[in-house]
């Protein structure tokens, strides 16, 4: 069953058309990745799903409910949480307070349980619990951003470039955890990445975006084997 369905979405920044009619689908229980170069519109698509900016044409359905005209904070209450681009943790607040903020839409009775769950996934955060979030390393901040999103008990988790500016070893660790979240916590994941190799290896399905259009789609393995994808996103790196 499709959990998130994007139908013919156009998004504008002023006069610039950033998304030129996107159709895609995320099914329940999947990890779906969206790869593409800088400026292709990946982040815009993810943010459009969250309602900021709003799509000017097309529909976005979350569990058959049209969310394309809803304000961001209400969309999030439906069970969509995100780890935004650049992580956007609250730098002057402690790790614990950041996690509290993540749980602000939830009933406090789940808090302890969810906190344990997050610390289980990211033991590093437990060590840093009283530290100011802004003083942590990039990898730890990314863990915090994902942990914070998980505190909101999402059914769909949107991740925007979790590998950005993080040491390769830590990237691997984070991707392992994403897999674990998907498999054990039954959270559907929509992953936007530039690190195509890792993302496609992890994902069940993938989409490739070029200049505001989806040009290719398929399973992770198919895309990894696709010569176009290899030439554009994989050769020369990794």
């Amino acid at each position: 069953m499709s959990m998130l369905k994007i139908e013919g979405v156009h998004t504008f920044y002023g006069n610039i058309e950033a998304l030129k009619g996107i159709d895609m689908e995320v099914n329940e229980g999947e990890i779906v990745t969206l790869i593409g170069a800088n400026g292709a519109g990946k982040t815009t698509l993810l943010m459009t799903c969250c309602g900021s900016p709003q799509a000017s044409k097309g529909r976005i359905l979350f569990e058959d409910q049209d969310i394309s005209r809803m304000p961001t904070h209400e969309i999030c209450r439906l069970g969509i949480q995100q780890s935004p681009e650049g992580r956007r943790i609250f730098p002057r607040m402690s790790v614990y307070e950041n996690l509290q903020m993540g749980a602000s839409t939830q009933d406090p009775k789940y808090f302890e349980e969810d906190l344990e769950m997050v610390f289980d996934l990211f033991p590093r955060l437990k060590e840093r619990i009283n530290q100011r979030a802004g003083t942590m390393s990039g990898g730890e901040q990314q863990m915090l951003a994902i942990g914070r999103a998980l505190m909101g008990r999402p059914r769909l988790l949107l991740l925007d470039e979790p590998s950005l500016g993080i040491a390769p070893l830590v990237v691997k660790q984070i991707f392992e955890t994403i897999k674990k979240i998907n498999r054990e916590k039954k959270v559907t994941v929509f992953l936007v990445e530039q690190n195509a190799f890792h993302a496609l290896k992890l994902a069940h399905r993938g989409y490739v975006m070029v200049n505001g259009n989806i040009t290719l789609s398929g399973t992770g393995a198919e895309l990894l084997a696709n010569p176009e994808v290899r030439a554009a996103y994989l050769e020369g790196g990794h």
């Binding site: 904070h73 209400e74 999030c76 949480q81």
Partner: protein, 506 residues
């Protein structure tokens, strides 16, 4: 001179160059400010040149700079002390000269004064000796330890403050409670303390908006004005008592907070500041021009004073059947009773503000304010409604401004738009910023520095504001983020605050 300089890090030529540079700057700055004077002669105004002052300024600059160089380059202790002493004498010289500008100069004032009589010689020598001793001993550990000990000291102070915040706060509260017992007979002390307390309360109120929610509000005085006028008008036209009007004034101010909040929801930073500034001015201009309601520039006078919770009055002559405060407690009549009562009233109001703020910080709404200050986009994506969060910050901040305004009206007995100018907003904002955004105790310190000190040093006349300005510059140089600018988490898990702070300071 070269014998004094034992350091090899800097050559004589470099020192001369540096000194020359600062001499030129001193010349440029002093020539227009100190160097020219308009003199009223029978023929009309004429310009008189005062080269002696300019030269004094340049010499003191050179000496001061030299002292800095010596300190910076770790040159011998005696050398430093000598130079600092000479510099102190030069500054003193300049200060005296500046005060008595009519005295045309023959010989340096200091020497004149020093050789006037035996006593003055002794005094002059004692002055030099004291300055020298201070300079000498303050530089005891000049060489390598100097910087370290400096930062150690500030780290120690920081540690002491952060681990004992509650105790310091409690001590402060106790001090303010016993204050009238210490200075009960001193009318001006109580008046000043009340004034400082009003600003502490305003600072705490604005702190919610600026410090916690991060919304730069330059028109806070508008809510203060709304509170003051609400009370004044309600009590005059409907004969309502202060105790009934106080919550009403708060509600009115809060609704004005929401009215301001709506149009500025999408604005941040500079743009928000401009709109709030405009809002503050709009309120003031309306107060001036709506003559029928507000009395315009004439203001509203003979505003009713508060009673003792409706039980007793403070006036000397009372109508039949009204109990006097002194009768109620069996005391002799004193005009101080009312002042001390007002002082306690504002103290309680301010403490309520502080208490509510501290409580709110621990509740989801307070946490949401702080998160909103840090990152609005992240807040939205976590399901926090930014509209409600911002409006609640504006409303609650404004409400406390309204309470303070009602108190102000009842204390003064007279209000006019004059009291609610932009300068007031700026002062309140300065209190919050100087105190360290978000710090409750910082606001108290800053209010004392900003309001208390200028009042206490009124005798310094025109130098008062000069020193005030220098103080502001100094605070911003040494503590650019405010006097007490630490944000500690409100909740710590599995760790005492002491451990955490100690770990961080190291």
């Amino acid at each position: 001179m070269s014998a004094l300089i034992t350091s090899s890090r800097i050559s004589g030529a470099e020192i001369v160059k540096e000194l020359a540079f600062f001499a030129v700057i001193a010349l440029l700055m002093s020539v227009m400010i100190l160097g020219v004077e308009t003199v009223d002669r029978p023929t009309g105004l004429e310009l008189a040149v005062r080269w002696d002052l300019v030269i004094t300024a340049i010499i003191s600059t050179i000496i001061g700079r030299l002292a800095l160089i010596i300190r910076r380059e770790h040159i011998s202790r005696i050398g430093q002390a000598v130079l600092i002493t000479v510099a102190a004498v030069a500054v003193f010289e300049m200060f005296v000269r500046f005060r008595e500008m009519d005295d045309r100069w023959a010989s340096p004032v200091f020497i004149d004064m020093a050789f006037g009589s035996v006593t003055s010689i002794v005094l002059a020598i004692a002055f030099i000796a004291i300055v020298f001793a201070i300079a000498y001993f303050s530089m005891k550990k000049v060489a390598a330890e100097e910087e370290e000990s400096g930062s150690n000291l500030s780290a120690k102070i920081q540690l002491a403050y952060r681990t004992n915040t509650k105790k310091i706060g409690a001590l402060g509260i106790v001090f303010f409670i016993i204050f009238p017992f210490l200075f009960g007979e001193n009318r001006s002390a109580i008046d000043l303390a009340t004034l400082v307390m009003i600003y502490i309360m305003l600072g705490w109120g604005l702190n919610i908006v600026v410090g916690l929610a991060g919304l730069l509000d330059l028109g806070y005085v508008a809510f203060y004005a709304v509170g003051a006028y609400s009370y004044a008008l309600l009590s005059q036209h409907f004969d309502l008592s202060f105790w009934l009007c106080l919550p009403l004034a708060g509600i009115f101010a809060a609704s004005f907070g929401i009215i301001l909040g709506f149009p500025v929801l999408r604005l941040r930073g500079d743009y928000l500041a401009i709109v709030t500034l405009g809002f503050g001015e709009i309120i003031r201009v309306v107060l001036i021009n709506w003559y029928d309601l507000t009395g315009g520039p004439d203001g509203i006078s003979s505003i009713e004073r508060p009673s003792f919770f409706g039980l007793a009055e403070f006036d000397r002559r009372l109508p039949e059947g009204v109990m006097g405060f002194n009768e109620l407690f069996g005391l002799d009549y004193s005009t101080m009773h009312r002042l001390i009562f007002l002082y306690y009233l504002i103290l309680v109001l301010a403490l309520v503000t502080a208490f509510v703020t501290v409580r709110l910080r621990k509740l989801p709404i307070g946490r949401a304010w702080e998160a909103l200050r840090e990152d609005e986009i992240a807040c939205r994506s976590l399901g926090i409604n930014p509209t409600n969060t911002k409006l609640s910050a504006f409303a609650i901040g404004a409400m406390f401004g309204g309470f303070a305004g009602a108190f102000f009206a009842t204390r003064q007995g007279f209000i006019s738009p004059e009291s609610f100018t932009f300068l007031e907003s700026a002062v309140i904002l300065a209190i919050v910023v100087l105190g360290g955004m978000g710090s409750q105790i910082g606001v108290v310190l800053a209010a004392i520095v900003m309001i208390g000190f200028p009042e206490m040093f009124r005798e310094l006349a025109e130098y008062r504001m000069l020193i005030f300005g220098a103080g502001m510059v100094a605070i911003m140089l040494w503590r650019p983020r405010g006097l007490l600018s630490f944000r500690d988490p409100t909740i710590l898990l599995n760790m005492s605050k002491k451990e955490k702070v100690a770990g961080e300071v190291k």
